[in-house]
Structures are given as structure tokens and as C-alpha cells.
Symmetry: C2
Subunit: 106 residues, 2 copies
DNA sequence: ACTATAGGTGACTAAAAGGTCACATGTCAA
DNA sequence: TTGACATGTGACCTTTTAGTCACCTATAGT
């Protein structure tokens, strides 16, 4: 399997994106902590975390009997760079900033 | 299905990413033109283009009996903004630039 | 030492996605 | 107006993926 394929496949699932969202707010969380926020068994969450880890989106470190999970933003940036060149970046980010401003006013 | 789900699902397939790559180089291509670059029947390619279109990653316009396809980078930028905040962006993009520089020297 | 707690493996089922085909419509150009 | 070309639809099969469960190992703390 190609290197980037793991990243995109990992991002394809809404549960995994939710996990990244939680780690974006604060990382260093354990499996059990993440599981408690999801309507799913521990095994399901464990599988998802493994997929994220193999994709390099999450880095994990064992600490005693716990396993701590951290978000790695680098693969996300590489996605960006693949289809947005430096010249259009200014234009596009201006657009998305406008979009989020408009949505805040709702 | 959630709005962003369509985008991530669309990006999960390597054939669809290849299509985006081709449109990134030059867009306004027809189905037949894109098909000729892939080892797949026209129907497969058509399905993929439809998925990309529904995700908003590709915009299409009919011109006579042809259908022209264009790349829309906005959803890509939104992915970036979801997990990379303004403060870490400088640091991360510095890292990815370093990475691509190193790879060019190979 | 014992017990509760945190995490891990492999097999299994159900749902979703990728790809092809027979068939069909609309458009160009001689 | 006839034939070739570009695109479209629905059914179908196969492969992949999400989620659960029975069972297992390791650490913490009393």
C-alpha cells in the first residue's frame, strides 16, 4: 500500500476524525478516556487508533499500563500542499476565512 | 451523510486522487480524456468523477456532448484548517518544506 | 498475593465501496 | 439522416472495512 494511502484511508472514517478532533483540543489521552466519549466498544476505538497510528496521524507512547496518544499534523499539511500551490494558497485561504466569518454570524 | 464526510470519502480512493492530480496539472478535461490515462473502464472513471463532484472537489460543466471537469481546492484547504491552527502552521509548513527540499536532493 | 484496571489479539458478521456490463440518450459531422 | 462519438443509468458481483466478542497479558494499588 502506498504511503499516502494510509493517511487518506485513515481520514475516511468519521469516528477517526472525531478522535483527531479530540486530540487536537488536547492530546496525551488514553484509550479508555477516548472510548468514554464514543458510543462504541473499546475494541472498535482501539482498531481506529491503530489505523491512525499506522498512518502517522497519531503518535503513541506507553506509560505504565496506559498508552498516551498524540496528534501529528504533518501528514495533514502534506495533503494541503499536494493540491494547493503557493500561488493559489493566498486566494483560497482568503475564501475559507471569509466562509468561516460568515458562519460565525449565524 | 455529513457534509465533510463526502470530501474525506472521496479522497480515500487512489484513483480519485490520481484524477485530482491530473486536474491539478490542467483542468477542463473530459471523461474520455481522463479515462485514457487509467487502466479501468469508462464506467469506473465516471463513478469516481461523480463522487468527486458530489464532494465539491470537482466542478463540471457540459459543453455540447462533452463534459468538462475542474478542480476546486477549497475543501482541501478546509481539511488543513481543521487540524492545523494558525500558531502551529508556521512550524509545520517549515517542516514539510524542509522535507521536500531533502527529497529533491536524492 | 489478589483483584481491579488498562490494553491487546484473532475470528467472525454485516455493511459499504470498487469495478464491470448490457442497455440507453443526446450530439456532431458528412 | 445516418453513423460514430461522448456521456449516462441500473443491476450485479467481489473485495474491503467497521464493529463486536471470547479470550489473553501486564501493571497498579491495597
Amino acid at each position: 500500500m502506498a504511503d499516502d494511502d494510509l493517511v487518506f484511508k485513515a481520514l475516511a472514517d468519521p469516528t477517526r476524525r472525531f478522535l483527531l478532533d479530540r486530540l487536537f483540543v488536547r492530546d496525551g489521552r488514553t484509550l479508555t478516556e477516548l472510548e468514554s466519549e464514543l458510543d462504541m466498544t473499546r475494541f472498535g476505538v482501539m482498531k481506529h487508533l491503530r489505523v491512525l497510528e499506522e498512518a502517522g496521524l497519531v503518535a503513541a507512547r506507553k506509560s505504565g499500563r496506559e498508552k498516551l496518544h498524540f496528534l501529528n499534523p504533518v501528514p495533514i499539511r502534506l495533503i494541503h500542499d499536494r493540491w494547493i500551490d503557493k500561488y493559489t494558497e493566498r486566494r483560497v485561504s482568503a475564501l475559507t476565512e471569509l466562509k468561516s466569518e460568515l458562519e460565525e454570524r449565524k
